[in-house]
């Protein structure tokens, strides 16, 4: 479904992604792991068109998207939920969700998609008229996920969905992501904690200094000695 080959990204003179290749297949949940500054967010940003790549190919559903602007990529049903939720703080919950269905591909299906989101997150319906910034972190994460789902994505990319959440809320979020996946949405997500990530993902890629250093299924990664070196050093 998503295929990245030899991706290279630089910020000015500094190369942050040095030839990354990865695959995400239909129906999977794939984790992108690695220490801070490894380039995880940069990869997601390059896929969704927020960051332009210097070299490499990104193919989604058979379409080359490496030089497409972000407002066109979302039309292909690829949604990206940014780190720290990034809901529109001074718009209401309803307005946030409605904008999630702004792109022309899903514009006509907004009402149906909104009902689906409300089924998944009943709390958002209760909070419809509340301004997004006045909600708790967990609620904002629900809103960010709901807003992403309004684009009726085939692939949902989530950057650190559990960041800053209380343990119980984080567990709930993991369950919600599993539910979303069971409904047929492929998921690619970023997470710092290997144990947590592997409880959700089928497969994972471990990134270090802009390169993929380990890849494998969840159990392979959990038993890998290499992963300790990446995260703990030495």
């Amino acid at each position: 479904m998503l295929s990245i080959r030899n991706l290279e990204v630089s910020y000015g003179d500094y190369q942050v992604i040095r030839g990354v290749s990865m695959e995400v297949y239909v129906g999977e949940i794939v984790a992108l792991l690695g220490p801070n500054g490894a380039g995880k967010s940069t990869i997601l940003n390059s896929i969704s068109g927020l960051q332009s790549a210097q070299a490499g190919v990104i193919e989604f559903d058979g379409v080359h998207i490496e030089s497409m602007p972000s407002h066109k990529i979302v039309r292909l049903r690829l949604a990206h939920i940014l780190e720290r939720r990034r809901v529109f703080p001074y718009l209401t919950v309803y307005q946030n969700l409605w904008l999630g269905g702004y792109n022309p591909t899903v514009r006509d299906e907004r009402k149906r998609n909104l009902e689906r989101v409300y089924e998944l997150f009943p709390k958002l319906r209760e909070r419809e008229t509340q301004l997004a910034h006045s909600m708790s972190g967990g609620e904002q994460q629900m809103l960010a996920l709901g807003r992403g789902l309004m684009a009726d994505p085939k692939l949902l990319m989530v950057d650190e969905p559990l960041l800053g959440l209380a343990p119980s809320v984080a567990r709930h979020t993991i369950e919600v992501l599993k539910q979303i996946n069971q409904k047929g949405v492929t998921i690619l997500f970023i997470e710092q904690n290997v144990q947590t990530a592997m409880s959700l993902a089928h497969r994972g890629y471990v990134l270090e200094s802009g390169k993929v250093v380990i890849e494998g299924t969840s159990s392979e990664l959990l038993n890998s000695g290499e992963i300790k070196r990446v995260f703990l050093g030495g």
Binding site: S48, G49, L50, P69, S70, H71, V74, R75, A79, H80, L82, R86, V87, F88, P89, Y90, L91, Q95, W98, L99, G100, Y102, N103, P104, R147, A151
Partner: protein, 288 residues
């Protein structure tokens, strides 16, 4: 000093406040959207006033009728400014952004002086003229019409920004450019739209006040200066803040002129402005 004079002055101030509010709303919209101050805002207003003046002088078109023309023309000027200049300096250092719009202001002012001379021009016989009397208070009809028109335009702007889908998308772009792009919003188009609408605000205000205000190349300076104060006082990016602060400034100006001295009216405005920014730096309704 009689009560009538004070009431009359305050009502005139209130009327002036609606005009300041619309001019400031245009400036605030652009700033809220992309954090760029349009230093050519007053010059845009000057262009609208000259357009009105020439349509009247050459074709006998009344200032009221040139409002729609000025809205469209200024919208186009705003959009062209975005695509021609602003788009290229979006991520440039602040000094570059300031110099760019400030340079545009000087260019437009000089151009006006070159083309139409520095002389003061007046529209001598507009349809709306004379004065009206309400409960013993006399008001110039052009002033009343201009203020009502500006308030109406402000109402339209407020409705557009808060109740239409494009308006909501505009707000989303202002609040988070990247997230808006991920929703499928073409943020560059939103910026152009913001410039178009922001310039149209002074298009309306300029056309309306032309029927009683003199037209000359530097006419925009004081309006823009007051608009910066209004926006800073009301809070950057807030339309309601622009309305409240615009009215406040109109009232302070009028009160200062009769209670202290007309020569000090702007000084008093700037004193009040200093007080607001010292006590509440983000302005009355600001988020930044």
């Amino acid at each position: 000093m009689t009560r009538e004079i004070i009431i009359q002055a305050l009502i005139s101030g209130l009327l002036m406040g609606f005009i300041y509010a619309l001019v400031a709303a245009g400036l605030s919209l652009i700033f809220g959207l992309m954090e760029i101050v349009n230093f050519a805002h007053g010059e845009f207003m000057m262009l609208s006033m000259y357009t009105t003046f020439w349509l009247y002088t050459l074709f006998g078109l009344d200032p009221l009728l040139s409002i729609p023309i000025c809205i469209v023309l200024l919208f186009v000027i705003g959009v062209v400014t975005h695509y021609g200049i602003i788009r290229h300096i979006l991520d440039a250092p602040m000094l570059v952004q300031i110099t760019a719009t400030f340079g545009l202001a000087i260019f437009l002012r000089s151009l006006a002086q070159f083309l139409w001379s520095a002389d003061y021009q007046v529209i001598d016989d507009p349809i709306v003229s004379g004065r009206i009397e309400i409960w013993g208070i006399y008001l110039g009809l052009p002033q009343v019409v201009a203020s009502a028109g500006c308030l109406l335009a402000f109402g339209f702007l407020y409705y557009f920004v808060n109740r239409t889908e494009t308006g909501i998308a505009l707000q989303a772009t202002a609040q988070d450019r990247e997230a808006a792009g991920l929703m499928g919003i073409q943020t560059n188009r939103m910026f152009a739209l913001g410039w178009g609408i922001g310039a149209s605000c002074v298009g309306v205000a300029g056309a309306l006040i032309s029927s009683y205000y003199m037209v000359f190349p530097d006419v925009g300076i004081i309006f823009a200066l007051l608009a910066y104060v209004t926006v800073a006082m009301g809070g950057f990016g807030s339309l309601i803040g622009a309305l409240i602060a615009g009215i406040a400034i109109g009232l302070i100006e009028a009160a200062g002129a009769i209670l202290v001295s007309p020569a000090f009216k702007y000084g008093i405005i700037f004193l009040c402005y200093l007080a607001v920014v010292l006590l509440r730096p983000k302005g009355l309704f600001g988020r930044f």
